[in-house]
Symmetry: C2
Subunit: 204 residues, 2 copies
Amino acid sequence: MVMGRPRSFCTDKALDEAMEVFWRHGYDGATLAMLTKAMGIKPPSLYAAFGSKEGLLKAALDRYAERRAEHMRYVLAGATARDVAERFLSSIAESHTDPANPPGCLLVQGGLACGAGSENIPFELASRRAQTETELRERFVRAKRDGDLAEDGDPAALARFLSTVASGMGVLASSGADREALREVARVSLGAFPPSHGVADEPG
Amino acid sequence: MVMGRPRSFCTDKALDEAMEVFWRHGYDGATLAMLTKAMGIKPPSLYAAFGSKEGLLKAALDRYAERRAEHMRYVLAGATARDVAERFLSSIAESHTDPANPPGCLLVQGGLACGAGSENIPFELASRRAQTETELRERFVRAKRDGDLAEDGDPAALARFLSTVASGMGVLASSGADREALREVARVSLGAFPPSHGVADEPG
DNA sequence: CAGCTTTTGTATCGAGTGGTAGATAAGTCA
DNA sequence: TGACTTATCTACCACTCGATACAAAAGCTG
């Protein structure tokens, strides 16, 4: 089997650069010129590798999801429901103000509203945001079964609340709020969380 | 003084239509073709009246602010800090899912990230969002002075928390969440609010 | 080497972008 | 009525958009 000319750029590195452009300018605001310049490649190479601008975004979102996966593993490993909430919010305060990335969250910055021809982009981003909420909800369902979430705690409502606060923190960060401001929001938000009790909180 | 040919369209009606387009598609996603079609006028009329696309957005934002002003008057008229928070969140759950408007909040949907040439749009929107937070903060400062906010309640932190939740609810609504979902988020969020005490809560 | 496959760069496509020039229409005032 | 002012319409500007045709280049196989 003949191999053909080998690719001259690293797909993952190129995706990291594309991710940053989408993150900073949104899907509609990110032009092919910006993307190809940041990725260090020409349009035909981009289209050969990713198919289309939308295909490139999805590949970048997949890579973003990989990064967040280990993140969420740490969050979900919290001992109690409240501990999970605390890990979730405080780690978001850090990541959304990480100077290594554009401020905020790619899944929010990417585009809540798009122009004609890219109406499905907001849906794509929303479905990826929803996944985090689902992970939290399932964790809280388990927490309730295990007794480390209060009896009157609603797993679905709490997961949606945390996910909503996370989105709001993304908006806040994108307006230039500093890390301390986000930490404060996280701290206040935790006040809405029912205190854990049961096995995980019992002394000894 | 000579008057000249009178304007053939109603500025406010045209702004309402433009507002809806910006709301649904964002600043970058809203094209002149969409805007002029919705407003029922031709480009030269638009430019004569509003100067530029950005000028049109600012005029639409001013109109949006007028609408919200009476809204906020009701919110800030709450008897206690907690009552203000409750009014704020529940009215947002309603307004962000009002079928008469696109879902979410114009100040969020309008554009968190924009393309080259409209980098100042996100700042413009952020500064308008910040105004709501300021109004809440000032109300809570007064509440603390009047004794209807707990001693350990931080007016700035609480205002920022509410503003953040409101932005998050905007994101949630724009992903298609229904009114009941937003009401639930509002209900959970209120749990983060310190219970009011003092004169306003005293019996009698 | 020749032959094949795939990638790369140049140069460009048609469509759509925000914005405008210039003529015409519709009013008011003398 | 006719001069004056302003708004509106048609047509179009230069430019950028996402995407691609085509040929040269770079690798492997025989």
